[in-house]
């Protein structure tokens, strides 16, 4: 009796699309299984290409899921009890479900989540999901709230290596984890390039890598140094936790945030291969906290940067403050310092955030009263 692994109907259309692509611009894409050892980080290109950062495998996959039916203004999203629903899919109880990252397809507005069964593995308060488990499941939440698995056993993809990633043997003593889990600590796509922060195996470990896309062989790698106001010293070993490509005073820049919690500007034109670059610390958002996500959004003709923070809630920076002469923190400070920030009135308990059409944002949040993990869309309400 021969057992036959079933194929998807989607494979046929995928193959056809792959042929079309091969004839046009992007010969690097092939059809096959994406074998990520850890789906550590996700981000999208504006055309709906999904990037999956695999810290443990030290690779980045660009996946074309053919998910590009435009939805411009998705309706209100409110998916409750997410962990129970995903738990059913993973075959475990809700309390075992761990969400690792979230990204929104800017074309279809489908929300992508990576998940594992690893929630019981936490043993110290500073550990992040990728410290305790490797995400192995990719899920898609449609604007109507339906959740389905995105199977990766036969998809159109291309892949590139992360050169010289943090060594697998290096332990991060204070939180009992491996430096390797932060080989890729965040990713963002802008101006046709993929920006990837993380830890390298170099003396100055904190690194920004820049990949042209479609991938070619070489990436550019710049080591990063910042002044950490609440620690009172210059640092090169902690990875960027969340960042945003952004124009500051008309100049392409990167706004980067770190644990404990400096906000730093890097000028894009300085991020050259094999260089060491010092950033400008423009704010300290308060120590003892992780920045978890960063998005840019428009509200009443103003542009804001939204930073999801592990203990201080959602932080909003009015970009007006980024067009004035910027502070430059170079001395130890207590508490908070630098450019001012505020908090929205109508969302809390947030773990991840993403743009959801022009007006709305989508939040993965835990309700403070019933403990429920939810995906909700909101128009930000400022005080």
């Amino acid at each position: 009796m021969r057992l036959q692994l079933l194929s998807f109907p989607v494979l046929i259309s995928t193959l056809a699309a792959a042929l079309t692509m091969a004839l046009t611009s992007n010969a690097a894409f092939t059809v096959g299984p994406v074998k990520a050892q850890s789906m550590s980080k996700l981000t999208f290109a504006p055309d709906g290409t999904l990037f999956i950062g695999d810290s443990i495998g030290a690779r980045i996959f660009a996946v074309d899921l053919d998910d590009r039916t435009p939805v411009n203004d998705p309706g209100k999203l409110n998916v409750s009890d997410l962990e129970r629903k995903i738990g059913g899919m993973l075959g475990v109880d809700a309390r075992d479900v761990l969400i690792h990252d979230m990204a929104v397809n800017p074309v279809s507005k489908n929300i992508y989540l990576t998940a594992s069964r690893g929630r019981r593995n936490f043993s110290l308060e500073w550990q992040l999901p990728n410290d305790v488990a490797n995400a192995s499941v990719l899920l898609r939440v449609a604007p109507n709230g339906d959740i389905e698995e995105v199977r990766l056993d036969s998809v159109k993809y291309s892949v590139t290596d992360v050169s010289n990633p943090a060594n697998e043997a290096v332990e991060v003593d204070w939180k009992k984890t491996k430096a390797r889990v932060d080989a890729i600590s965040d990713m963002a796509f802008a101006d046709g390039k993929l920006f990837v922060t993380g830890l390298s195996n170099e003396e100055f470990a904190s690194t920004m890598r820049i990949y042209s896309f479609p991938f070619n062989k070489e990436d550019s790698s710049t080591s990063l140094e910042i002044y950490h106001g609440s620690h009172g010293k210059y640092e090169t070993d902690a990875p960027v936790r969340a960042f945003l490509p952004i124009r500051i005073n008309g100049k392409p820049s990167l706004l980067a945030s770190y644990l404990c919690t400096p906000l730093v500007v890097f000028s894009m034109d300085e991020l050259l291969d094999k260089k060491h670059v010092k950033g400008r610390t423009i704010a300290e958002l308060g120590d003892g906290s992780y920045p978890l996500d960063m998005v840019e959004f428009h509200f009443k003709n103003k542009v804001y940067v939204l930073i999801v923070n592990s203990t201080r809630g959602v932080i909003l920076v009015n970009e007006d403050y980024l067009s004035q002469p910027l502070p430059n923190i170079t001395e130890q400070i207590e508490g908070t310092a630098g450019i001012p920030f505020e908090h929205p009135r109508n969302v809390g308990g947030v773990l991840h955030a993403g743009n959801y059409g022009d007006k709305k944002l989508v939040f993965l949040r835990r309700d403070p009263f019933n403990g429920d993990l939810q995906l909700v869309s909101r128009e930000i309400d400022l005080p």
């Binding site: 009796m1 021969r2 057992l3 036959q4 692994l5 079933l6 194929s7 998807f8 109907p9 129970r84 629903k85 995903i86 738990g87 059913g88 899919m89 993973l90 075959g91 475990v92 109880d93 069964r117 690893g118 019981r120 593995n121 936490f122 043993s123 410290d131 305790v132 499941v137 959740i147 698995e149 199977r151 332990e171 009992k176 984890t177 491996k178 889990v181």
Partner: protein, 361 residues
């Protein structure tokens, strides 16, 4: 390849024309047989996942897995291992492919005992059976990732007569684990080891010189998949007087390999050392001080460091660098005792690296 004989049929055909639902407990596979013509429409994952759905308990979302069709038998292999002693619900719903078909629901329960007790204790360090009374830590290595939340409840230290040794280990909420959850570090409470500290004065050392003890990891401990251990593991050891001497790197015996070979460099310490630190904190350097790449292993009851280089040795000068943080079983470092007596200015000697040179011919 699956044969009918290994399939434990726990659900039977309800009528002659109805599909047969079976659950193969050994393989953790759910099958639906006798699908007849409906099978033709189930040759892709999407259709198959509508027709055969498996749910954990009362869940309303079906489990992820892979579907395979062989003849008119559709099988479902769950993506993740089934949990022990839990109820599952199988729904076979052929309405989309067969008009007039009625959904069939069947339930099964997984065994309470693990079917695949695979995880076990691979080693407990120190591996020596004689330890000093002021031993600082022990390491328990597991073959697979463990659940961190309850493992400590299944670990006991008992004396010769089987009485538990109370407050032996430093109490931490979940214990000190490595990232994979495969190595648990047990710290003996330093308060009972350090002279002059309250616990030491009231309770004394947890381990008494002359006594013998058993460290028991019982099989009730569960791994990360919720399965119990394959068996209980017992480490027996006896206790001698406290060790308050420095490990002396200059007394180590170095067996030097020949140049142009990849033979092992063997270093024998004069006493057992902390297993994890010994493996990690010793390295070989070439004449420029650059580390030599290779694989190190600790052997012979934690007294021997054995190093095989990636590439052949060259003739000339080499050195062994021992990081200042290396410790013996009692936490004594090469340049500083665990209970270093402070100098008059209140400072303790800093731990510093020790270097021993050798020459290859």
């Amino acid at each position: 390849m699956m044969t009918v004989s290994v399939i434990a049929i726990i659900a039977a055909a309800l009528t002659a024309n109805r599909p047969i639902i079976t659950y193969d407990a050994a393989m953790q596979i759910v099958s639906v047989g006798r699908l007849g013509v409906a099978a033709h429409s189930l040759d892709n994952q999407k259709a198959a996942s509508r027709a055969l759905r498996v749910y954990l308990g009362e869940s309303q979302t079906a489990m992820l897995g892979d579907y395979r069709l062989a003849g008119d038998v559709l099988t479902f292999t769950p993506r993740f291992a089934l949990l022990a002693d839990r109820g599952y619900r199988v729904v076979v719903d052929l309405r989309a492919v067969l008009s007039g078909a009625k959904p069939v629901v069947y339930q099964f329960r997984t065994r309470a005992a693990p079917f695949h007790a695979k995880t076990h204790v691979t080693a407990i360090f120190p591996s020596t059976q004689v330890v000093p009374a002021n031993i600082l830590r022990m390491y328990i290595f597991f073959s697979d990732s463990m659940s961190r939340q309850s493992t400590l409840d299944h670990i006991r230290l008992v004396d010769d007569s089987g009485h538990p040794v109370e407050q032996a280990f430093l109490e931490t909420k979940e214990g000190l684990w490595d990232r994979e959850g495969r190595r648990l570090t047990l710290f003996f409470d330093p308060g009972r080891i350090k002279s002059g500290v309250g616990l030491h004065e009231t309770l004394g050392l947890a381990l008494k010189p002359g006594g013998c003890y058993r460290l028991i990891v019982s099989k009730g401990a569960v791994d990360a998949e919720g399965q119990q251990l394959r068996g209980t593991f017992i480490k027996k050891f006896c206790v001698v007087q406290e060790d308050r001497t420095l490990p002396n790197v200059q007394h180590w015996k170095i067996r030097v390999p020949l140049a142009q070979t990849r033979n092992a460099l063997v270093v024998d310490a004069e006493k057992p050392l902390d297993h994890a630190l010994f493996e990690r904190l010793v390295r070989v350097e070439d004449s420029h001080g650059a580390p030599v790449r290779g694989t190190a292993a600790v052997e012979d009851q934690d007294t021997r460091w054995r190093f095989v280089p990636e590439t052949s040795w060259r003739a000339g000068e080499y050195a062994i660098r021992v990081a200042g943080e290396l410790e013996d079983l009692a936490g004594n470092r090469p340049t500083r005792l665990f209970e270093e007596i402070a100098t008059p200015n209140g400072r303790r000697a800093e731990a510093s690296d020790a270097v021993v040179s050798f020459r290859l011919q």
